[in-house]
């Protein structure tokens, strides 16, 4: 059985090697520690990082915990070359924005907002793994509803959906 300090180090090491979210269950499997202990240690670790303004922070999502860079230093990381080279077309971006803020949302609802058909943009977003089908709407035809994926958050440097830039005022500028 690992002592607390070791458990912390092991979790840190595990988070370090993985580029995807690590679930508490996965950590429990290799460390044999309890869920509660793991969560406590993760919180402690995350606080330590925050206290000393580390270049790394630990964020959590539905899938688990993962490391990312602290937003304060984003310019340096960007200039270092972490920026995406590919460009998203305007139509695809608009469609993605609508889905991100209004999820779960059907194709027809997206189209109503943009005033143009959305099937191609949806297809392209789905192919890239930025959106996925999250269910069906309880409406005639039971249309598919879409939502964003973890891949979306990662690509746009968001730690969670709450991290989306604030919605503008409906109505006045």
């Amino acid at each position: 059985m690992l002592i607390r300090q070791e458990l912390k180090a092991v979790i840190e090491a595990i988070l370090f090697v993985r580029s995807e979210a690590v679930s508490v269950e996965e950590i429990a499997r290799v460390t044999g520690a309890s869920r509660e202990d793991i969560l406590t240690v993760l919180t402690e670790l995350s606080l330590e990082y925050n206290e000393r303004k580390s270049g790394i922070e630990i964020v959590s999502g539905d899938a688990g915990f993962l490391m990312c860079t602290r937003p304060e230093y984003h310019e340096y990381v960007r200039d270092f070359g972490a920026t995406q080279a590919e460009r998203l077309s305007q139509g695809v971006l608009e469609t993605l924005a609508i889905i991100a803020y209004r999820q779960p949302i059907t194709r027809a609802e997206v189209e109503a907002i943009r005033g143009v058909r959305a099937d191609r943009a949806l297809q392209s977003l789905q192919k890239r793994g930025l959106i996925r089908e999250v269910g069906r709407k309880d409406a005639p035809g039971r249309p598919v509803m879409y939502g964003t994926t973890d891949e979306f958050l990662k690509l746009f440097g968001l730690t969670s959906l709450q991290d989306l830039p604030a919605v503008l005022e409906e109505g006045n500028e």
């Binding site: 993985r18 695809v92 608009e94 803020y101 907002i113 943009r114 989306l164």
Partner: protein, 240 residues
């Protein structure tokens, strides 16, 4: 007023309308419908080649504008009880424009996050475990591997015959790509393990060949007669 606008520069009718409102520097809540409609129609006429769906959307908006213009010309009856004017015929359109404009702004912000012009976090890039001695699998090797799976499949085939739906290659391509995304090392055997019938295995194989042809996945065999792994090709393909 002769603005020359190119329709294919616009995402759609709402985008074009917003642009016209901006160019005319008019209040979005008090759009001079008559002049905006004229400009909108003039823009439609300059259209060379727009795909049919988009054209339909542009025309629908033209009809909406003309409808609003007509209703504005008629005297508006007062609603008896409240003494208030009937709703402004532009109201619905204005709401849609404002909503769309908001989303355009949000899309711009997302783009800035994406490009790192707004504070954001960066995640570790998934590192590809390149095999030590890389040896790209050749087609005969793939076929050989497929055969071995194919003959194994025979034993595991479900005894009950269930009417088979159509197995779609595109769907299987997505399945393969999805599996590659989830697992860094997907072997050919693992890929076929899930197939419940020869038919499905065959479609999976065709889907795999197609993905390799398109350069979306790579098949790698690290030693002759070794296990063939399938991995996602690091792509820079565009969204469109």
């Amino acid at each position: 007023m002769g603005y020359s606008v190119k329709l294919d520069n616009y995402e759609g009718p709402l985008d074009l309308l917003l642009k016209l409102i901006e160019q005319n520097q008019v209040d979005i809540y008090d759009i001079p419908i008559a002049s905006i409609t004229d400009q909108y129609l003039a823009a439609l006429e300059t259209m060379d080649e727009v795909d049919l769906d988009l054209l339909a959307d542009f025309l629908l908006m033209a009809a909406t504008l003309i409808n609003i213009k007509t209703r504005l010309l008629l005297p508006r009856p007062r609603v008896e009880e409240t003494g208030e004017d009937e709703e402004d015929p532009r109201h619905y359109l204005v709401n849609r424009l404002v909503e769309y404009r908001n989303f355009k702004a949000l899309a711009r912000m997302l783009e800035q996050k994406y490009e790192g012009r707004l504070p954001r976090v960066y995640f570790r890039e998934p590192w590809e475990q390149e095999p030590q001695r890389e040896l790209h699998a050749t087609l005969p090797q793939l076929v050989q591997a497929f055969k071995s799976v194919w003959f194994q499949k025979d034993d595991t085939e479900i005894p009950v015959r269930i009417p088979e739906g159509d197995i779609d290659i595109n769907e299987k391509m997505q399945v393969i790509e999805e599996s590659c995304r989830k697992r860094r090392h997907l072997t050919l055997q693992e890929l076929f393990a899930g197939a419940t019938s020869r038919r499905e295995a065959l479609v999976l194989f065709l889907a795999l060949l197609e993905l390799i042809r398109l350069g979306r996945v790579t098949a790698v065999q690290s030693e002759p007669f070794g296990v063939i792994s399938i991995m996602k090709t690091r792509s820079r393909q565009n969204a469109d």
